[in-house]
């Protein structure tokens, strides 16, 4: 028995030596380096569907870049490693998650949600962490003071002030109410929309502006308050799917027959249907959601199919927006031939790449539609406005 054990140990040791030697000679250890990106996202709580959506999209893009050989410069090959941290959509948790990520050597970050991104800004700037973030809001985030923060989703200015007002006009809305989350994003979106309506001479259209806590389950009292004003449309802004579903269901239970829009949120359809019910959410207007049967390219179809195969559910807007933004960052590093954050950021500002959504570029500087931005840190690519029909988003023709 003793001899057999000794023989086994010898063979094992020999195999380990061979493996190490083989990897060293083949160059697997020699020049391959790692770039770490932290995915500081909500993996639990009401915004978990969003968090998983972005995290998975970014990881799929990282797999694609790595499978294609990674990023090469200076004689080295760099492969991406994505590390996930749960912020539970709580600002304090987001701060501690980011601190852990920096301690773990992460030099890039993806995150989601303005309320939880806002407290991260000082750390992002101080550590020059290039961050791709799905955040609503406008110049409050995207401005020359935040050079490393790039918004992957269309800003509130694009979604509410431009597309939103276009939609309300097309629908002939005479009485608009807003019911938004009582946080930095909800308050910011509401203010952005009110100012845009005023600039368009439509201030009288806005009949109610209400806010409730993001974790609200019973919207009945505040909806009763709103419905007294007889709105034609209730704009929710950026509610997560489960909250939006409840909000709509409870409004219908109070007899509301008007319309709903949630222009900045892009909720996950499964959670929305489960909490809201197919009948209640019929006619809901959403932005950013590409319907599976109306995708703009074959590459997008492949991404969709791969996502469904891996995760057993369809991707959300944050998946594909995170995916293409990640490709963009990778392309910028490749072009800049460095990981120096200032040089990468400078390269990103003038870069344009073809993606599955169409051409992707950064906008913001000198753009009259984006007041106060002053910097090219807003991603821009084609985006649909959809209307939920029989539980599915269908592209709504705005022209």
């Amino acid at each position: 028995m003793k001899n057999r054990l000794g023989y086994g140990r010898g063979v094992g040791l020999w195999l380990v030596v061979c493996l190490f030697w083989g990897m060293t000679v083949s160059g697997a250890f020699a020049a391959e380096k790692v770039i770490r990106m932290a995915s500081v996202n909500a993996f639990s709580g009401k915004a978990a569907a969003w968090g998983f959506s972005q995290d998975r999209g970014v990881k799929m893009a990282a797999q694609k870049v790595n499978a294609a050989g990674g990023i090469k410069f200076g004689g080295d090959t760099y492969k991406w490693e994505i590390r996930s941290y749960d912020n539970r959509y709580i600002p304090a948790e987001a701060v501690s998650s980011m601190k852990r990520a920096i301690a773990d050597g992460c030099t890039f970050m993806c995150t989601l949600g303005g309320a939880v991104t806002f407290p991260l800004i000082p750390m992002i700037n101080e550590n020059k962490i290039i961050t791709i973030a799905a955040i609503a809001g406008g110049a409050d985030f995207t401005n020359p003071k935040n050079p490393y923060l790039f918004r992957t989703m269309p800003s509130s200015d694009l979604l509410l002030s431009i597309e939103g007002i276009k939609l309300y006009r097309k629908l002939g809305i005479q009485r608009l109410a807003t019911l938004m989350a009582d946080n930095v994003i909800g308050r910011g979106d509401s203010k952005t929309l009110a100012e845009a309506l005023k600039n368009q001479g439509m201030e009288k259209v806005l009949v109610a502006q209400e806010f409730v806590a993001i974790d609200t389950s019973d919207f009945t009292p505040v909806l009763t308050r709103i419905l007294v004003k007889n709105p034609d449309l209730i704009e929710g802004g950026a509610w997560p799917a489960a909250s939006l579903g409840l909000l709509i269901k409870q409004a219908r239970e109070l007899g509301y027959k008007g319309q709903f829009a949630n222009m900045t949120g892009a909720p996950e359809m499964k959670a929305l249907i489960e909490t809201g019910g197919v009948q209640n959410i019929e006619g809901l207007f959403l932005a950013r959601l590409w319907p599976p049967d109306q995708l703009p390219s074959k590459e997008f179809q492949k991404f969709w199919d791969d996502y469904v195969a891996q995760h057993k559910e369809p991707p959300g807007a944050n998946s594909w927006e995170g995916y293409v933004a990640f490709e963009f960052v990778s392309a910028a590093i490749q072009k800049a031939q460095t990981l120096d954050p200032d040089k990468v950021v400078a390269t990103m500002r003038d870069l344009k790449i073809p993606t599955m959504l169409g051409e992707l570029k950064l906008i913001g500087k000198d753009n009259p539609l984006l007041p106060g931005y002053g910097i090219n840190n807003q991603f821009s690519s084609p985006m649909p406005i959809t209307r939920v029909t029989a539980g599915k988003p269908v592209i709504f023709k705005m022209d």
């Binding site: 009401k46 806010f211 505040v222 308050r225 996950e268 009948q279």
Partner: protein, 287 residues
């Protein structure tokens, strides 16, 4: 203010009060018998909601049958929980308090792994809107849930007031030592009382699962409301908690509608503080 608005606020207040009542009654029952605060009460609410969700959505069982399963499963869970967690430390107030906090955190943590992180939702099988006099609209689901809540509370009154086990529960609540001397098997009665309390929490979760979304933390807010209610109503008093539930329901409805959601929360807590200043034991509590 229109008549329609007033009637709508009254109806909403009544619906909210009924839901709160169901959440709080189990908690106050457990406190009355055991003189222990069950910090894990919200967990049973959540588990009841999850059981209803999986039985209805995944197993395809009728919604009302899923509620019936709660009545079969949770008394057993309650007896086991009382025997394993509570009984060994029943007389150590702080240890009991801490152990239920431990159960709360543990079960919620396991819940994230088992049930997933994406919130779930159920639709009530009857999707009818009732148009009441005065231009008020109410969903049939809320009306049925209110009616069931009232029926369940009447059932609790009947058990506690009219049955032998209920008399034994009251005896243990009022004079534990005397009850023992009279031959009441206190361990068994406490276990049954505890099982009844957490079954009520689970049933509340099952009923409310069609009104709100379901996640492993679904029980946290109801538990907070339930604590406010039982303190307001008087610890251990079922009638006190029923009264407090409707007070809180009407405050949430009137305050939230007239002054906004933030004012609704503020008014609720302000009233609790005021009542406790003038009557520290709560509305029907004993000094």
């Amino acid at each position: 203010m229109t008549r329609q608005l007033i009637v709508q606020m009254v109806v909403t207040g009544f619906v909210l009060g009924s839901i709160y009542m169901l959440m709080a009654s189990g908690l106050t029952l457990i406190y009355g018998i055991m003189h222990q605060v069950n910090m894990a009460h919200g967990v049973f609410f959540m588990l009841g909601a999850m059981l209803t969700y999986y039985a209805t959505k995944e197993a395809g069982l009728p919604y009302f049958f899923s509620l019936f399963i709660i009545l079969l499963v949770f008394p057993l869970i309650g007896v086991l929980f009382e025997r394993i967690i509570f009984r060994p430390i029943r007389h150590l107030w702080l240890a009991g308090y801490m152990s239920t906090i431990g159960v709360w955190i543990l079960v919620e943590g396991i819940g994230w792994q088992v049930f997933g992180t994406v919130e779930k939702g159920l639709q009530f099988p009857i999707q009818t809107l009732l148009h009441l006099p005065g231009g008020v609209t109410l969903s049939a689901s809320k009306l049925i849930i209110c009616a069931l809540s009232l029926l369940i509370i009447l059932g609790i009154y009947w058990i506690v007031g009219r049955t032998a086990i209920g008399r034994q529960m009251r005896a243990i609540e009022q004079q534990p030592k005397a009850a023992k001397l009279m031959g009441i098997h206190s361990d068994r009665v406490v276990a049954l009382g505890f099982a009844l309390g957490i079954t009520l929490a689970a049933l509340a979760g099952g009923l409310v699962s069609t009104l709100y979304s379901i996640s492993p933390t679904s029980g946290d807010t109801p538990m907070l409301k339930a604590f406010i209610i039982i303190i307001l109503g008087g610890l251990g008093s079922i009638t006190g908690s029923v009264i407090a539930s409707f007070i809180l329901g009407f405050i949430d409805s009137f305050g939230g509608t007239l002054f906004g959601p933030q004012a609704g929360h503020f008014l609720g807590f302000a009233l609790v503080i005021l009542i406790l200043i003038f009557k520290p034991a709560g509305i029907l509590g004993h000094e």
